[in-house]
């Protein structure tokens, strides 16, 4: 019988303590951060989608289009497009397409990037009614007003041009030689063919 009443009393006491705690919380200020009115600042290491970093010296990115990010990516969300421009060392990036909808933010690409050309952005509140909005061209994003022409190094250009010329020359010579040989051969062959027919 005493168990009956002590159980009851303990029960009521525990319930009262619970009420006390919630009452205290009711009277304290809410901790809510009212998002669209005030926004949280992202931690520097926050992993948003990746972006090309602006290099203050050159005024553009430092990507060398090596494709390590593309190779390392587990979910194939990066496509690096590049082309060769005369007078510029290495390949020039023409498009850096990130399909953010398959990205898993693992950081393999950033880790693999030798020149540290890419890093995570702090975009944390993306939402759209169109799925295509999340296929970014990071190069366009970096230079919204238009991608600047790659700086042409005159020395290199000259060198390259010389090289090209030399190569062209060599090719022309080769071609000439080949043509010569061909005509010679052709002559023979042609005769042969004629002879055959």
């Amino acid at each position: 019988m005493s168990g009956y009443f002590s159980y009851l009393l303990n029960g009521i006491k525990s319930l009262a303590i619970g009420l006390k705690i919630t009452n205290k919380e009711f009277l304290t200020r809410p901790i809510t951060l009212q998002y669209p009115h005030e926004s949280v600042k992202m931690a520097p290491r926050y992993r948003g989608h990746i972006e090309l970093l602006m290099d203050s010296e050159t005024g553009t990115h430092t990507c060398i289009s090596c494709g390590m990010c593309q190779k390392g990516c587990p979910s194939n969300c990066i496509t690096v497009k590049s082309k060769k421009v005369p007078g510029v060392k290495g390949k020039v990036l023409t498009a850096y397409i990130l399909d953010f909808t398959t990205c898993s933010l693992c950081g393999q690409c950033v880790e693999n990037c030798k020149p540290a050309a890419i890093d995570f952005s702090n975009e944390y509140n993306l939402a759209s009614t169109r799925k295509e909005d999340f296929v970014f061209d990071l190069l366009q994003k970096l230079h919204p007003e238009g991608v600047p022409e790659p700086k042409v190094d005159p020395a290199l250009l000259k060198k390259e041009q010389e090289k090209i010329e030399a190569a062209a020359k060599a090719a022309a010579e080769k071609k000439e030689a080949a043509a010569k040989a061909a005509t010679e051969k052709e002559g023979e062959g042609g005769e042969k063919a004629e002879g055959k027919s």
Partner: protein, 327 residues
């Protein structure tokens, strides 16, 4: 003719009061829950989120009405209306002020119990008509729960009737006039167990209206949404409003029987404001309790009724009879 106008004006008044209350109790609940949980609650819809109930109501009304395939169409549609009608009828006898009674009725107390017990049928019908196993289980649970708690509640109400000698709610309030120690909850001279009987009644009223922690009918984590699982749109809205209406009735009844209704604690300026103050305080307590405790089980609930509430209310009845005879 005057009588007719009186009835009509009360009808309109009650409808307005009820509508406003039922809508904004939802707001109070959400806002209160928010602050208890360290957050803000509705805020951006109108100032302080005050337009939130309006938005919810409009949205619920413009929702598509779906009758599930294996539901009993007629009963499915009528159950929420029935619940709401029963709740509205209940308000007829509540004395908001000494002269502010829609219909002063000598048997007001018993009428509230009668109509409330009829409201249980609507839950059962709604649960059955949905043609969903969850709803069915929840409906039977809710009804067996309210039947179980009706017993101690009635017995406790009878002790009050014994003390005051009337079933007229206004009379019961009048008998508690004066300072607050004349209220039935503190009337230790009428029965030494009065505070306990107040607790018993309050707990029973909470169980009767299926509020947490006794909300087995809507046990979210077990039975999805209980007997309202298949209801969308305004059917759901009506059930919710009926729930808030029942909450008001429960709180008002406790106020009338134990807290002196429209009486002032210090015998000054009695009036409806005191009634509303006490009623809202009790409603707030119910909300507060809901957001504090976990849910009981059906067996825990029946245990509570049979092991604690019914013996207590019976002892209370005996003690009160003794007090009346002896003193």
């Amino acid at each position: 003719m005057d009588e007719l106008i009186r009835i009509l004006s009360y009808f309109v008044g009650i409808a307005a009061f009820l509508g406003l209350n039922l809508a904004y109790l939802g707001w109070v609940e959400r806002k209160g829950a928010g602050h208890i949980q360290r957050r803000i609650g509705p805020k951006d819809v109108g100032p302080y989120g005050l337009l939130q109930p309006l938005a919810d109501g409009l949205k619920l009304m413009s929702k598509q009405l779906v009758v599930p395939d294996n539901a009993d169409r007629l009963l499915y549609m009528s159950a929420p209306v029935l619940a709401m009608v029963a709740t509205v009828i209940l308000f007829v006898t509540i004395p908001w002020g000494e002269n502010l009674v829609p219909r002063e009725f000598d048997y007001g107390l018993i009428m509230i119990f009668a109509v409330a017990s009829a409201a249980g049928l609507s839950i059962l019908l709604g649960g059955w008509a949905s043609g969903n196993k969850y709803s069915l289980i929840a409906g039977t649970r809710a009804v067996s729960q309210s039947v179980a708690f009706e017993i101690p509640m009635l017995i406790t109400a009878i002790t009050i009737v014994m003390i005051t000698g009337t079933m007229n709610l206004n009379e019961i309030i009048r008998s508690q006039s004066g300072m607050f120690w004349n209220w039935n909850v503190f009337a230790l001279d009428k029965s030494i167990l009065m505070p306990i009987s107040f607790l018993v009644f309050f707990v029973c009223s909470m169980a009767e209206i299926n509020r947490a922690p006794f909300d087995l009918g809507e046990a979210e984590s077990e039975l999805v949404a209980g007997y309202i699982t298949e209801y969308g749109g305004m059917g759901f809205g009506l059930f919710m409003m009926a729930e808030y209406g029942n909450m008001m009735i429960g709180a008002s009844l406790t106020t009338i029987l134990f807290l002196g209704g429209w009486q002032c604690p210090f015998g000054l300026f009695p009036g409806p404001h005191w009634f509303l103050l006490k009623m809202y305080f009790l409603i707030w307590t119910i909300v507060w309790i809901r957001w504090t405790y976990p849910r009981t089980t059906l067996w825990g609930l029946l245990n509570l009724s049979w092991k604690y509430l019914i013996p207590f209310s019976l002892v209370n009845l005996l003690v009160t009879a003794l007090f009346i005879k002896v003193f």
